[in-house]
Amino acid sequence: MKKLILLLAAVVVLLLAGCPAASPPVVETLEPPPELYDKVWISPGKVEVGHFYPGARAEYAVTIHNGNDQPTEFSVSFRVPGSAEEGYVTAPDEAQDWIIIADPTPVLAAKETREVLIALVMPEAAEAPAKKWEFWVSVRDASQTGMVQTELACRWLVTMK
């Protein structure tokens, strides 16, 4: 009988251990090519959020690399997309309030690579703009002074439940 009880207890423990915790982001790592060492770059280019719903939270870090030879301040911000993926609609301006950027103005040392956590937190009362919608996280080298400036954008593609 003891053996049976122990067996059942083990089953309970295994079942509990097997229950999934909060789904972590699916992260496929890729080393940047060596030629990017001296460039400013961001990664990834796209983040896909699935089964999202009002009241939910999704997080992913955008990685920024400062290829400059001096410390550089970057500006990380929400951006309404210039063009949306086929089947997606662009996020409304108010979606800006749903985005939390852990550090909107990081200062990176020369050649430093740093992650900045982005969280999409949609209030329970909020209404999604569509079943599929898109917003961008813009990263700019804030030290640019010329008439023409560059910006790198990470696309967030959100599919609602």
């Binding site: 909060a22 790592t29 983040v47 699935g50 910006e151 790198l152 954008a153």
Partner: protein, 165 residues
Amino acid sequence: MKKTILAIMLALALVAIPISSALAATDQDVTVIATPSFISIANLPIGFDFDVVTASTTPNTTTSYFTVTNSSTVNIDVTIVCDGWHDPPANHWAYAAAAPDTALLNASDGDGAYDVEVDDVNPILLHTTATAGDNFTWELELEAPTSFSYGDEQTTTVTISASAS
């Protein structure tokens, strides 16, 4: 013994059922997937001076004046936007199609067509790369005002933005 086994099975059922039903209502269903890729562009030169402009003309930078060095590991879309005319705070032009004290910029991606009207609010697609890491050139044209009320120098900041296609 039977009672003990039944009690354990009941406990097991009570433990398992609420967990599986609760999972459907939490954020545990939310998925986040990112495909590894690197986005990187640089643009040179960083500016252009149209110098003194004549009313109702369309001076340009010359074709392929700007070069975007693209080090991205995936195909990218490049959009263009400007922030209107500023400096000085007063006496600056309005940003729209050519009219008195009103001007705008057109752009194109290396063919001199100037067929992309640069907006001062919404980024407009300028170029899509055919393969990852493709460099490309582009150019700007000014639709000068049809007349001037003042001669102050005008400036704008043009932003070109790269995102994964």
